[in-house]
Amino acid sequence: MTNTNEFINQLASKLGRATPTETPNYVASNVPQYRLSNPKERASIFLDNWQALGGKGAIVESLEDTVQCLRGWFGDLLAAWPNKPQAIIAWDLLPTVAEYAFKALEWPLVRYTQAAQTAVDRYSLAALAELGVTGADRGIALSGTLVINSHPQRGRAISLLPPRHLTFIEASKLRDNLFEVLEELASLGIPPSAIEMISGPSRTSDIEMDLSIGVHGPIEVYVVVIDD
């Protein structure tokens, strides 16, 4: 175990000067950024890119749209899921449209953070669930990416342990590129303990470069873009 001062001083001496006391400046090089012209285009390109990664998705304009969309994706599956009351695990509070849609469908939601006392029990619940449901804080059109911040009423395992992950995101939360998202995140001050950027399903090409979907994370990923 090396003393911090000693460690830093040694680097300063290798650099041949004293350690700066102020954040050193530098001139950043500009890079050409990907820009879209309007929100409609942004939503549709986000969806295209999400689907190209192997995700499913839809843009909804109303509660009816949402209900129909969820029924189409999960209606048949739900009937076959054993352990039905605990099959869907969700954030404590989902975007309003999502809350209403699940109520209208009468599909029971297990609220992750309240579902069990200990972390181990929560993980087991999430691992046994068939579908995890979350919202997202931001989305990136260029890469088809969802950006989800951790929060006491959320739970990070919901988007990770179940074999399916469904996210609701308002179209107004979509951005063109990563840079815009990072600028907004930087303005938060102390960042949340986890910012997860998710681009499509879990994948690997580790065996003979052959693409396989769903090695550790969700195998199927769904996004509902709420036109707001």
Binding site: G16, L53, Y123, S143, A157, E183, S193, I207, M209, V215
Partner: protein
């Protein structure tokens, strides 16, 4: 260091004789390289992105003391623990102690090149812990007991049948060798491990100095598992792996994902600022960052080789290197293979005797420098390493002797003329179809795979003096 065969020649010969290895390496590197071309072309002016990357990395390395100090301060402020390791042995001792203090038996790991560099797993297993590599490729080579053959695709050299054969004793039944079956087996097998893991060890692609965050990219989601589920998270980091703020992550993450696999972003990019807040349900309660020097400070103090610290470990230089593409990663014998491995291994290990061959694993064509997303002049550094090795007297006796002889003849004109005349007469046992082939060592090192022109009957010097009497 893990090695297959003790000598370089044996390793290279073995690689060259392994048709599957060579085909697989070529196929995989072709794929990665072509994906990269597509992903970089769509960004518009890729050169501008490379320049931006170089600017950021050069700035960070030139101010590494400041940014490390800032990073350490931020992490400690958030309740994390920072450990500074001068040597691999220090780093191992630190991790061992954390594991012992927590009385942990199940260690789950996501990919970390630092853990390969310090050979961590073996030490933890000696202490009685079970250590599981959770990246599919790393898991395969862990079972096989081999080092990674590529920095991004560690089990590139294994056929699916070999993978099935490795998994079967664990599965306890016959597995078909199609990749969906193998992937599903690993998913099920690993699930229990993830849920039981009490310590998670991760790597670190970037650390953000002004927020104390760790950035990690994976495609499988194992990085998220390891940094979300266990109570304790240990992150291993090479000390140069820093960006000043979130802003620079835009350039660095674009360069990394696009150069490594040709993706716009990896499937999972996690920006973590552990430990978890008290009111949160998931995430590690305890966080340890282990920062490794291992002679990186020596490289920092060496103006010539300092740019080697700019590397972001994307593997793009592997995929274009004509040497790597022929022999794969194991022939190098080092944890880091490819052009960047040939540059940093001799510098990190400070051992010319074991690693002095690496700067010669290059045709100096410059493809690596062109591929590097942060514009490290790799081929140039390889030449400079060769010079450094030679000047420090670490070239083989025979090579030194040859160059002494060369100097002698080329500084004694008359003797040179005589020797050439003699050579043109004495060479006949070696000449076939007008070329020199075969012969005893050291000549055979050249002639075993190519021929030499024969010594001309009339030398250039003779012709010249006839033309200018």
């Amino acid at each position: 260091m893990t090695m297959y065969n003790p000598t370089i020649d044996q390793r290279v010969d073995e690689a060259l004789a392994n048709d599957f290895l060579r085909l697989a390496t070529r196929r995989a590197t072709d794929r990665l390289r072509n994906n990269k071309y597509k992903a970089t072309a769509e960004l518009g002016d890729w050169e501008k992105w490379r320049q931006a990357g170089e600017t950021i990395r050069t700035h960070v390395v030139a101010n590494l003391d400041f940014y490390l100090q800032q990073l350490i301060g931020q992490i400690e402020k958030q309740g994390g623990h920072v450990h500074l390791a001068k040597t691999p042995a220090d780093a191992i001792a630190i991790v061992r102690k954390i594991v012992a203090d927590n009385n942990s038996k199940n260690v789950i790991k996501s990919k970390s090149m630092i853990s390969e560099e310090i050979h961590l797993n073996h030490a933890l297993e000696e202490d009685g812990s079970t250590v599981i590599e959770t990246d599919l490729g790393e898991y395969i080579i862990q079972i096989a007991g081999e080092p990674p053959s590529h920095i991004i695709v560690p089990a590139m050299h294994k056929t699916r049948q070999q993978v099935a054969d490795l998994f079967e004793p664990i599965a306890g039944h016959v597995l078909s060798s199609d990749t969906p079956t193998l992937t599903r087996f690993v998913r099920l097998q690993m699930r229990e491990r993830f849920l039981q893991g009490d310590i998670g060890i991760t790597g670190c692609n970037f650390a953000v100095a002004n927020t104390g965050s760790i950035v990690m990219v994976t495609n499988e989601g194992n990085g998220r598992m390891v940094s979300t589920l266990p109570r304790v998270q240990i992150t291993l980091m090479g000390m140069e792996r820093i960006v000043p703020s979130f802003r620079e992550l835009d350039v660095m993450l674009n360069l990394l994902a696009r150069s490594a696999t040709g993706q716009r972003l990896s499937s999972y990019t996690s920006i973590l600022t552990p430990p978890k807040r008290a009111s949160e349900a998931d995430g590690p309660e305890e966080f340890h960052l282990v920062i490794l020097d291992h002679n990186r400070s020596e490289i920092l103090g060496d103006q010539t080789f300092r740019p080697a610290l700019n590397c972001i470990r994307c593997g793009a230089c592997f995929n274009v290197c004509p040497v790597y593409r022929q022999i794969g990663g194991h022939a190098y014998g080092s944890v880091y293979a490819g052009p960047i491995g040939s540059v940093i291994t001799p510098l990190l290990e400070k051992d010319w005797k074991t690693w002095g061959h690496l700067p010669y694993f290059s045709s100096l064509c410059g493809a690596c420098s062109e591929a590097c997303p942060v514009r490290i002049p790799l081929h140039d550094l390889l030449v400079k390493l060769r010079a450094r090795k030679t000047l420090s007297g670490h070239t083989p006796q025979i090579e030194q002797q040859i160059f002494k002889t060369y100097r002698y003849f080329f500084t004694h004109e008359k003797i040179l003329r005589r020797a050439l005349r003699l050579g043109s007469r004495l060479q006949w046992p070696l000449v076939r179809n007008g070329r020199i082939s075969g012969g005893p060592p050291p000549l055979s090192n050249w002639t075993k795979s190519r021929t030499l022109p024969k010594v001309a009957t009339k030398s250039f010097m003779q012709m010249w003096s006839e033309l200018n009497p």
